[in-house]
Amino acid sequence: MEYRIKAYVDELFEKAPKTQQAYEIKLELVQNLLDKYHAMVSEGISEEEAFQLTILNIGDMEEVFAQLSESPGVFTVSGSETFLEKKRAALTAAAIMMYILSVVPLIVLSSLGVFEVLGVILLLCMVAGATGLLVYSNMTKPKTTQGPEAVSSVGEGKGVDQRKKQLLKAFRSAYWPLVLALYFLLSFLTGRWGITWIIFLIAPALETVLRALLFPSDK
């Protein structure tokens, strides 16, 4: 009979918005109805009758769903959203810190005059790590900023678009830090600070070319 109650609620929630909130209300309702059902059965009411009485007074769930779509993501969802935002902010901050600090081993080691190659390797590792963090934080971003309503309304074609946008964003955020890293790397390795700044002239042109090649349909 418990299964019947769950199945009944499943049916009720077919029209519910597909959000975390709606899911939690569903869990809550199932538990509530089970409590009610068990209480009646323990009072001596037959299982069938108890089931009928349990589902009799649920009322109009449309009311609840309407309220949910009015204010999408206000409670638990918004809580996890701000958590995700904080996480992204922390990731970005960590990445930028790594970019800045990545030259430290190289400077220290080269001023000591030992293990200069190790300095370069450390620099590369830190830049790679930082870029990874930035890409990750950007790839996880757009999904949560849409709000729960959009999740169900996004068509397949739009989904592809969204994916492209995500990639473009990731590319944008990774490109300039990499240029900067390359600038420092070349400068420290060659010591020709007088010339290496040209990278900053080449980089914008290269960015345009890369974007045209990688994201052709992007207007």
């Binding site: 909130q21 939690e24 209300i25 869990l27 809550e28 309702l29 538990q31 509530n32 109805l33 089970l34 409590d35 009610k36 209480a39 007074n57 649920i58 009322g59 109009d60 769930m61 009311e63 609840v64 309220q67 949910l68 204010s71 206000v74 409670f75």
Partner: protein
């Protein structure tokens, strides 16, 4: 009962807040307490109950948390906030005033 329940429905928030004033509770327990209190004359429909919970939560009058029962049945508990407490007393005063006025207006010498 159906006519009366329309009138009572306007006070769902106050009724729920009054229950939570006595301590944290969950959906079934709240409704059960209401039924017991009224000798089975009144009970809230689940849909009404959950709409009210969400509304009160949005207003910041109550907060909810998932309990962790060892028996496996996880229930969402509700707890009244300080703001909820203040508003409960305000609603209670409003109700008492309304009741007084309605009492004065609907009674006539003839019906006494």
């Amino acid at each position: 009962m159906s006519i009366a329940s329309d009138l009572i429905r306007g006070h769902t928030d106050t009724i729920i807040l009054a229950q939570l004033l006595q301590g944290d509770s969950y959906g079934y327990q709240i409704n059960r307490a209401i039924e017991v209190k009224t000798n089975g004359k009144f009970g809230l429909k689940e849909a009404t109950l959950y709409t009210a919970f969400r509304r009160l939560e949005e207003l910041g009058w109550i907060i909810s948390y998932w309990g962790d029962e060892t028996t496996g049945a996880r229930r969402r508990y509700y707890s009244i906030t300080e703001l909820g407490r203040e508003n409960y007393y305000r609603l209670l005063r409003e109700w008492e005033l309304s009741r007084e006025i309605i009492d004065q207006l609907v009674r006539t010498d003839r019906s006494l």
